[in-house]
């Protein structure tokens, strides 16, 4: 029997006694996943691509008319959309940079023998485990100019974090940094603990300074895993919605996903919002690709 040839299952195992082969078990795991992906990811993806070339509105019974590239053309000519993209880019840069600096810094601090290290690490991970909406609501209170604890403890009087159009985006980024630095820290910590100790010993024997050691040993060896953290955080920051939506409604914090949400679910411009979603998707893919290329390069070293 063919199955008998192909199977490498323990012949005494329960699966084998039921006549299951490797292939069968593989299919059992893979087919539902693939079906799930097709139904919930790939099908809508292709379907919405079709919609992005129409003037379809989900809120009306009017048939969708094919309008060619009109949606894309109008979106890319809309100064408001461009400003949304510029805001998103600024947000991604500020927030991811902040997270890498804070996260990596904390990881460096924790990467040594200190008492209660496990407890400390766990406590530091807490922000990441909270819900975005809850964090948003909490920070809205913390930033409050009348009774917020931030102004009180920093002695800033009634400084308007969220109502000041120039400050609001940074305020959102600070919240995001607070929430997601632990994620970068966790990955960096894993990378740091994997750096062989003998390299440091060799550097110490050669009397290498701390900066030299950091830039020549620590950073290059942690770089691949740090890159992965950066990729994840960039993608997430690009899609940020909850924090910015809850904290403030300044036009200067209207990141692209908020605009997309409004277009799709308040204005019900389904066709056009599909087009915008595709533009965002292409951008995220492009950025991720650049990162992945760089990541491979880093790994080769």
């Amino acid at each position: 029997m063919a199955t008998a040839v192909m199977t490498s299952l323990d012949t005494k195992s329960r699966a084998a006694s039921r006549g299951m082969s490797d292939i069968r078990i593989r299919n059992l795991f893979i087919i539902p996943t693939i079906l799930f992906l097709i139904v919930f990811n790939i099908f809508p993806l292709i379907y919405s691509l079709g919609y992005s070339f129409t003037d379809f509105r989900a809120s009306s019974n009017a048939p969708a008319n094919f309008v060619g590239l009109q949606n894309y053309r109008e979106l890319l000519n809309d100064p408001f959309i461009w400003s949304n993209f510029a805001i998103t880019a600024k947000y991604v840069i500020v927030s991811v940079t902040g997270q890498v600096i804070v996260g990596f810094g904390t990881a460096m601090l924790l990467n040594r023998d200190i008492p209660l290290k496990g407890l400390l690490t766990t406590l530091l991970l807490l922000p990441m485990m909270l819900s975005m909406a809850v964090v948003g609501l909490f920070w809205k209170l913390l930033y409050d100019p009348s009774f917020g604890i931030i102004n009180y403890s920093l002695g800033l009087g009634s400084f308007e974090w969220l109502s000041n159009p120039d400050m609001a985006l940074y305020a959102v980024a600070i919240t995001d940094i607070w929430m997601w630095s632990p994620f970068v820290m966790l990955l960096s910590l894993a990378g740091l603990s994997a750096v062989p100790k003998h390299l440091y010993e060799a550097a110490a024997i050669d009397r290498a300074g701390p900066f030299y050691t950091f830039f020549r040993i620590t950073l290059p060896l942690v770089a691949p895993i740090l890159m992965i953290a950066i990729i994840f955080r960039t993608m997430e920051a690009f899609k940020t919605f909850d924090l910015a939506y809850i904290l403030t409604s300044q036009p200067t914090t209207e990141v692209i996903s908020i605009r997309l949400y409004k277009m799709a679910f308040q204005e019900w411009q389904t066709g056009r919002s599909c087009a915008l979603a595709y533009i965002v998707l292409i951008m995220v893919l492009a950025i991720t690709n650049i990162y992945v290329k760089y990541l491979n390069k880093v790994k080769e070293r």
């Binding site: 100019p145 009634s158 969220l162 109502s163 409604s249 036009p251 308040q266």
Partner: protein, 436 residues
Amino acid sequence: MRKTLTGFLAGVGLMLASGQSALAQELTIFWAEWDPANYLQELVNEYEAQTGVKVTVETTPWADFQTKAFTEFNAKGSAYDMVVGDSQWIGAASEAGHYVDLTDFFNKHKLNEVMAPATVKYYSEYPANSGKYWSIPAEGDAVGWSYRKDWFEDPKEMEAFKAKYGYDLAPPKTWAEMRDIAEFFHRPDQKRYGIAIYTDNSYDGLVMGVENAIFSYGGELGDYQSYKVDGIINSEKNVKALEMYRELYGFTPPGWAKTFFVENNQAITENLAAMSMNYFAFFPALVNEASNPNAKVTGFFANPAGPGGEQFAALGGQGISVVSYSENQEEAMKFLEWFIKDETQKRWAELGGYTASAKVLESPEFQNATPYNKAFYETMFKVKDFWATPEYAELLIQMNQRIYPFVTAGEGTAKKALDSLAADWNATFEKYGRHK
């Protein structure tokens, strides 16, 4: 044995039969999650007691009310038999066939006369002046004002105010007086501020706030029949009104840049502002000592008049419509017949609902029931609303985009913001072929 079986079968049959009839006699009304929805549930419980028809008021938070309702409509779902929908939806919902045409029902019961005219115009009729009706005014609502009576009636304050402005300190009759009072009470060093206004630009908060100024200044948003906006939305009156709103923003508490009904009630409960704009629907919380420590010293007034003496307010509130995809339309119509009866409307008002029934509104009984009912009565006969066209949401977002930076950050000028808005709206109407 046979007997048992027959008995059993009969039992099952009876159960099925009664189950069937119970199914037919159940109605679901969809509304947003707020106090009036609870009052409505109490009201419909009485309908159940009278007729045996069980009516459930299903609710969802305001933030996804629109999204959830339209998702159900778009899917042609029969989950809701009736919906108490926002006044702006009526264009989108009627053109797409989501609402049942209630014109005959309306004319048969002369609801034109039964309900306050403004509510009929904005909650029920679409297109404007077409004589076609899609909903029954259910929860009347408009923007009004609350104020701190103790601050206003403090003899020292009154004296100082009179010395500074030359007239008596009292609830403002005009927007100019309101500006003076806001300026007078604006004392950041004492953590007391002049006024609380709407500034939230994520849905219709800011726009509603600005509408109060525009309408009382004698301005309009556009011609709702011909879709003409040039020279109307950017008229001299509207520019003045928007400048006034911007000026009032200067007297708000710090950080007042994303505020809507919650924050504006807080302005009163937390001793932040002397006056605060809000929907009447949120005033019950202000006279309740459990939710407002200043309940005893909170007063109310209607939206003041503009420089030309005109006095209007922005409309909130909703009408009740029958959903086209409901399987119980007949039963729903019966319910509506009960709902519009005078005694039902009276009971509705007693429970805390804001009736739109002209007769109830005019009754002294209603007007004296709460400290704000009189202001509500005065307001409901002079309300105006935003566009109700199917593309209202785009118009709303465009208006937010143009006026928010001016109001909260002083960017550009009022004239420039409104000129750009006129261009945006024209382009949108062009896109949907509204200009004939």
